[in-house]
Symmetry: C5
Subunit: 323 residues, 5 copies
């Protein structure tokens, strides 16, 4: 599905939508380029685009089916970049990943979106409002998209951070909860982010430091900024991974401690039942000569003694912190 | 055992099988090559091939006995590549590894298969149906095989992923199962994949980025694609390893928690037996003056009291979540 | 907010505060430079500075909002350095991080401070008292600040070391405490320090070993010293991380051992109640012919026997270390 | 002690033993060299050899005392190689390490053996049976020895693999064994192998890829094969290390689970004793009006009820898997 | 404090002590140098030395205060080396670290010692007894000291190895000890050694492989030997670290197993008390018709039955290994 397609001239959008057939006429002068946005195109849709722009068959194969690894390839002067976008779904505490496949040529940029992606329409609106930047050509669009995609990881990290905070609170709270499943699921998400972002560091480094086709030097230093944000997110993710490993172990210790507390509480109550039972057993013995049995107030005295024993034990256990 | 042997001219198969003696006449012109497939050849069988093609004695020694490490060697202009193929056996949850030993010369490619390998006959059929690609020579065949072998790891990863999913479900389910053996066995398989694929990354990188004999530049970019898939599989495998480590620890925590739950349940029932026993003990005492004993309805009253105590305790424990 | 702004000539401070408009006149001769200190400037404040000094728009964007990753960038001959400062808050056992953003040009140095930072006023005072060093230019100021920031990590490490010592004492003491939360929180802080200092090693290495604009060779060897201190702090932090991992595990073992001790103690007391109960049960049997029952001193004898049994058990358990 | 000493000419052994004094005359022509084997020589013995061959004093110091780290040194055109040999002692499940110190000059090779080493006499016999290879000079002998030493690690790995298999079987069997000590001891051996083989990878890589004195290019590709085997053994060892770590943790989980099973089994039996005790207590009460006591078959009825209760509980626990 | 100060000419000590003022006259010819040993000098003492030898102010700052990281610096042709010395204190099982700061110029070597250091007086005596080596100049002295310092780590490693052996014996012995604190403390020491030796590897590698001022090529190969010993110690330390991690986990498993054994032993005894108590309860019931009660030998028969039951249970538990 074609989301939007427009031709830009010196940073200004030419009115209306450009048609796919317009893509074909490649005698655009300097400062003119086409920006085409596609959403999960069919093989037929994409082969049209491919023919019009003369994309490399290998790259275009990738564009139809998603589940690529983030990477940067150069095919005959065309950059091909694969990105993972992320969105944090707070209720389920899962990260939803989407995919962007971007082709950048001298006079065109094609953006293929799969799954839940970042708000690219906003990126287009922002850039169209800043003709100076847009006049730098397709690389400026690429920067705009990368910047947005990496920025969109910030709420993901914030969401995971929040959840880690909640998990920590749960682990160290006094109410006996066991957030082990939640910790594990969070770790799974953190590993997912690791897999989505880790391989992107190298492409961004190349964009920001090496001379690449279609990327003018003026744009290169902008990529350095994106690279920086990316590395920060990556490091935060590593810290989270470490924290989750530690909190899993801390939780195990808490579970052990809580088990011990329960065991002691139970034992205390068992002791409080066992002693009067023993006393009752003693006075249940059938000896002929047991003077207490004949006493007028023997029975209430024994009951009172039992109560006193229980109370003493109760106080003792309370003082020891067992109850 | 010779599986198939054919000569190709400009991408087209020459009719019939080529014989080993045909291998010997090495005045094939441009665009002609022989593709020989062997299955677990004996030393005699292979020494014939070796003599016909003039292979290096060291490499041919490797071809007869399997259990090699994946690697890429160059002996006097001949590429020698060792690969591990994999197949996931779902019922036993094990990965079966096979081995491919491939010799690529300017005008021949010899593929030696050991154990359960990928469906190479299909690769041959596909390539024969695409003469243009086949016309690129033995390197195109090598690419076809590598592509297939690496693609065949996808169902392996999917199988392991499924099993990890099941293990997670088992760990976090409420029914008390203990999948520790299964987790361990899966880890073992993951380590096996790691050992089969890890050493292959470097050879593929060299194939896709360095000028090597017998690999024309046109084919090189195709290898980049295979390298990419390989790295993706490798990363997924690392994630699985991490997940299995975490799930093993999560499982330990679950086991501890379940132990605590059992202990509390047991204790609750013990308490419910201990209290009426104590009461019965009290009225079993032999004091002369125990007024309750003379009451008309003393006995049923005590039985009722016991029942009330038990019920109260039962409710209390149920509310506390102990039962 | 402008904290201080002064012009220095051959290491001597020119009287009074320099105004922002002074920054603009950039025909300062050799050995003259301006040192401007800002505290959490607003976007307006900073854009004034930026215009006066002609800073790169990307760098200045960073200066207003904090939460940067430590890094060293070079924009058209201006160094841009981001630093994390740290202060240990002992009562809460947390590390408070601040941020410094430093722009170093040929004839100016701008220091932007966010959050709780090191005592930069003291650095200024020290340097003003040492005109020889100050005469080396803005790079000498940069060194002074870096030196102070890295030195300020020493008390942080000392504080964490102390707390680790206390935690160790708690883990290995005989009183049953469970410092698991404290261990975890300390680990969190250690990871925070890791994140603040790790990325700084590379910039400092570049400062001390590569020719960079605005850093004269004479100053370079001074940076080597700072780099050295930084690496030492980093290594100590790694050791602490390792120690906390070990102490967490040691603590789990202690908790297990303590649980076992409690279980044995409880069991010993249960045994001491169970045996006399059994004896009492025996003499509560209603057999017609139980000779002991008719004995004159049967009852006291049995009571004495019970006491002897309990005492014997008590001694036995004490000897075994169960009580 | 001199084990054997012979001079070879064009690959053929000259009859008899060469004496140490023969070593001295160093005007051997092309294709002639001496191969001297020593076993734990005394300082005096070795200094004679040293003088005869003009070995570097530092290297010769190493030769007398063992416990070196595997390494490759070049002293004035003489290669000096230290190797660890290994032998698996199955009954004790330990790896016995020996040491080889090898000096390779243009026309001599001296092999000093310490402790239990590989069967070097066999290597000599094999090489003497293959004069063509032996004619390549001392480097061919070095290759033969290295090949044997690395091959001798295969049974070590196989032995450890077997033991790991047994340990796995023990951990996951139903009989309650606790192979923790065995796991730990195996890990110790694996670490020993790691220490013996790890440092050897680099020397072998240098032998197989760099031009070194006394190693003709024709021999170099043979070393590549040995390097390959070495890396395979090393990787297998790393896998074993990983497996042992996992199996240690799996074992802990098993121990916990078994503890829980025991606890439930015990509790079930306690419950089966507690309920009839309670019933007996009830009918031991001394109320005047307890109609059941007067019944003719009250006693057998109660005994039957007790039996029924116990049986019911027994069935229930059996169904729940507690017994 | 000056420990010793002497001038050497062609390897021979000039009689008497050299004074600090002698250091100043720097027109020593070839083969003459001064060797000055200091112990924890005050700032004043050291500034005298510094002035006499013209040392770099930064380096000399380091010399007064200890707690440096091991490193090698070159200031205007002077080598500056920081070393950690170690001594194992067996009773407390701790490693005491000292520090050596060494300045090596063309015609002087200054050794500053802090804390418990290696026996440098012995090094001096040995070197003075070997004028040939001493004639190689200050670098030979540096080698002598480094050799000694690294060799002095051998008893440290041996001490730690011994203690690990004892800890292993304690963990796997049958007497219930819990050496967790000892394991942790040993790990702490191992991390200390890691911190003291790790950063020294690179300086020694530079000394043994790069041309450095004041180190003649003849001495360089001697440093290779020291580097080798250092790497061996470092690797052993890493192995120890690994072993301690494993033994900590093995200990946890042992503690769990022992807990289970105690629990089973306790339960067995409880069962042996519970069954006779139940029997006694049965015969304590007040039914009118309980034929056993009237039997002449009912009472002794029941007592005998109780004993038989207990004995049977005892045998059963003994066979099951519970007692």
């Amino acid at each position: 599905m074609i989301v939007d397609c427009a031709e830009y001239d010196q940073g200004a959008r030419r009115p209306g939508r450009a048609s796919l057939s317009d893509l074909g006429q490649r005698e655009r002068g300097d400062g003119r380029f086409v920006w085409l946005g596609l959403f999960e195109p069919t093989a037929e849709e994409f082969s049209e685009v491919m023919d019009a722009l003369g994309l490399h068959p290998l790259a275009s194969e990738d564009a139809v089916e998603a589940h690529q690894r983030p990477k940067l390839e150069i095919y005959d002067g065309t950059l091909f970049l694969v990105l993972k976008t992320a969105r944090y779904d707070d209720p389920t505490e899962t990260v939803e990943f989407g995919e962007l496949l971007i082709f950048v040529g001298a006079d065109f940029i094609v953006v293929v979106r799969h799954g839940a992606a970042s708000a690219l329409a906003e990126v287009r609106a922002e850039l169209e409002a800043d003709p100076e930047r847009l006049a730098l050509g397709p690389a400026a669009v690429l920067h705009g998209i990368l910047d947005r995609v990496v920025d969109d990881y910030a709420p993901v990290m914030a969401g995971i951070d929040d959840d880690i905070g909640e998990v920590e609170a749960a682990v160290f709270s006094d109410t006996p909860t066991n957030p082990v499943e939640r910790i594990y699921k969070l770790k799974r998400e953190v590993l997912g982010v690791h897999r989505a972002l880790g391989p992107l560091v190298d492409p961004l480094h190349r964009l920001s430091s090496q001379p690449l086709p279609t990327v003018p030097p003026a744009v290169r230093s902008y990529f350095r900024d994106v690279e920086d944000h990316l590395v920060r997110v990556t490091e935060q993710n590593e810290t989270n991974r470490d924290l989750l490993t530690s909190v899993l172990e801390a939780n195990l210790t808490r579970v052990s401690v809580r088990q011990n507390e329960d065991m002691r509480k139970i034992s205390a109550w068992v002791a409080m039942a066992a002693v009067p039972t023993l006393v009752a057993g003693v006075y249940g013995m059938n000896f002929d000569h047991m003077p207490e049995l004949d006493w007028r107030f023997g029975y209430p005295a024994v009951l009172a003694a039992m109560a006193v024993i229980c109370l003493t034990l109760f106080r003792y256990f309370r003082r020891s912190g067992w109850i």
